[in-house]
Every structure is written in C-alpha cells, then in structure tokens.
C-alpha cells in the first residue's frame, strides 16, 4: 500500500470528524429507540396447540417446559381440541385413536370397532407409566411453575361450551387470535402443533 497519501488539510479533517461524530450520535440514538421499542431482550417461544389426543398433548407441553428451563419466555395458545389439554377433567382422560394411525398395531377395520379407543388408550397409558414418562397433569403443573403462560382461546371455549372454571388455575382465558399473532410476532421460535 502506498504511504505517500496526500496531506489532508486540517480544516477538512476537523469537519469530517465532526460530521462522523454527529452521525455516530444519531445512530446511537436511533439504536436506543429501537431497543426501547423491542422491549426486553429475553428469548421467546410461541406454540399453538390444536390437538387434544393423548399423543398430541405431549409435544407442546414437553417443548414448553423445556424451553422455560432454557430461559425462554413461553406462551402456548390452545385452540379447538387443544383446549382439552388445559381442561382439568378432560386432560386426565385424553384418548388415543388407532383409526388412521398406521403406527398402531391394530388394523383400521378392527380399530373402528366400538370400545377400541379405550383399548388403545389404556395400552398407551400403560406404556407411559412403564416408561417413567410424566403425566399430562404433571407437565402442566410443572410448566405453570416455570412461568409458562397457557392461553385458552375464548372463541373455542364458547364454541365447545366450556366454562372458564374448567381449566387449571393460572390458565389465561379471554384471549383470541390477535394475542396469538402478537406472541408469534415477538417470538424467536413459533410452532403449530
């Protein structure tokens, strides 16, 4: 690189430094505005839970509690059959259907017989128990302890004729799609289950 750069006049250098200083100050002020707008810098996760079968109740709860352990601020928006996960009574009796599930060891024609859901559900419950897997209730209580916010979609509460008192203590009701969108927009991880 050439070292014989032409000498810069003092006045020009002064001016450009002053300009740069002003520019830096302007950028710093804009940065602090942006930081103030985005609020806290904690990581967030937003899950939408739409299913209420025994097998599909697990993923949102396991991910929510684990993300909370990682320090994430977690919200889980429960809508349609996902509401049953938060329903204190229903959550203890979630069912597993083997119809249309090729992973189950029962052919569809047999699975469609009356009472088969009960059979496959108790089979799964025994496996859950034998595998030391936490129950749905334990996962909900633990997640609530860890600060996970469970939201029950108001429109589907009304649609399914549920009562706000049916849900676990600490579940937030009176929320709709806009709340879910806002949480998703703020989140670093968004999942639909």
């Amino acid at each position: 690189m050439s070292t014989d750069t032409p000498p810069v006049e003092d006045e020009t250098e002064q001016l450009s430094r002053a300009e740069l200083q002003a520019r830096v100050e302007e950028l710093e002020s804009r940065l602090s505005d942006v930081e103030a707008e985005t609020g806290d810098d904690g990581q967030k996760m937003s899950i939408i839970a739409t299913k209420g079968t025994l097998d599909m109740a697990y993923p949102p709860l396991i991910l929510a509690s684990t993300a909370a352990a990682f320090g994430y601020d977690v919200t889980v928006f429960h809508t349609f059959w996902g509401l049953d996960i938060l329903h204190e009574e229903h959550s203890k009796n979630l069912k597993l259907s083997s119809v249309g599930n090729p992973n189950m060891p029962v052919p569809n024609v047999v699975a469609a017989l009356p009472g088969m859901d009960r059979v496959t559900t108790s089979m799964m419950e025994r496996k859950i128990d034998g595998n030391d897997t936490a129950t749905i209730e334990e996962l909900i209580e633990t997640s609530l302890d860890m600060g996970v916010e469970f939201q029950a979609c108001q429109m589907t509460i009304d649609l399914l004729d549920y009562d706000e008192d049916d849900f676990y203590d600490g579940v937030r009701t009176g929320v709709g799609a806009a709340t879910a969108i806002q949480d998703m927009a703020d989140a670093d991880i968004q999942l639909l289950v």
């Binding site: 396991i62 352990a69 990682f70 320090g71 595998n131 030391d132 936490a134 996962l139 633990t142 860890m146």
Partner: protein, 84 residues
C-alpha cells in the same frame, strides 16, 4: 474418582423421563447460589445429552462432570452442575 469440587446439593430424578431431568435441574439451580454445585442423579439415558445441551445454552451454569454408574441394578447418570 477424585473430584475437584464439592457437591452442595443433590437432585434425585431417578425414575423420571424427558423432559423432567432438565426441567427439575433448572428449578433446583434457581434456588441455589453462586458457587454451589448441584449433583443430579438420573436414570434417563437421554439426560446425558439433554443436560449437556441445556448447560451449554444457559447462562450462569457450567457442567463440570458427567458419570455413569451401576446402582441397584440400573444405570445411573450423574451430572454435576455449578452455579456461576
């Protein structure tokens, strides 16, 4: 085995499966103070990778050591987590 640290608290999550070892470790760590070392006893084989990953991405904790021992006929995974 010689250890260069002293365990101050023990969390027994034997007989509990994913995600409980990580979740309960986090809950225990929250009650501890800087410098404390938590010993976590688990039977979940996944806890080895899970606790390692959790400690890696969590500020304020360090995974000091992970051991595997046979206890009462089952494999016990022991993890030592220090609160920074």
């Amino acid at each position: 085995m010689t250890q260069e640290f002293t365990t101050t608290e023990t969390l027994d999550v034997r007989g509990q499966n994913c995600p409980m070892p990580v979740v309960k470790t986090k809950q225990s760590v929250d009650d501890l103070e800087s410098g404390d070392v938590l010993e976590v006893l688990a039977t979940d084989p996944g806890s080895e990778s899970d606790l390692g990953g959790w400690a890696d991405s969590t500020d304020g904790v360090a995974l000091l050591e992970q051991d595997q021992t046979e206890m009462d006929g089952e494999t016990v995974y022991t993890h030592y987590v220090r609160v920074e």
